[in-house]
Symmetry: C2
Subunit: 84 residues, 2 copies
Amino acid sequence: MYKVKVFVTLKESVVDPQGSAATKALQKIEFPEVKDVRIGKFIELTVEKTEKNIEETVHEMCCNLLVNTVIEDYRFEIEEVGAQ
Amino acid sequence: MYKVKVFVTLKESVVDPQGSAATKALQKIEFPEVKDVRIGKFIELTVEKTEKNIEETVHEMCCNLLVNTVIEDYRFEIEEVGAQ
């Protein structure tokens, strides 16, 4: 079994309205020291071991469904766990 | 300056409709080996150094705004960067 962590972030060139709103809100309530906030997705996958290459599989899953590669970047960490 | 990475995940006991939908979609398109998907938030903060304790500050920011502590858990990593 594999536990995969996928970190999806907006590309640098893409405006992050959610992040900007969070920045202003934090600065307003009590945290003027906050300079920037970028909000992305943190995806945790549980994947059964198969004969397929797990790295390629995760790339395919990201490109096919989990990530909008036009505006988002991604990276991932794979951990093998348990017996099977 | 600090670069802070905050990982926000739904508590185990909380149903994740987005994650379930992603699981079914992945299984349907080509990835039957996917057993579970949990989708959370990955927040990147840029915070200026002040006399305040950065760990406490990040906890406060999470509890006050960034995290819904009723249904979400969070953890974070702090990295000091650059001069100031």
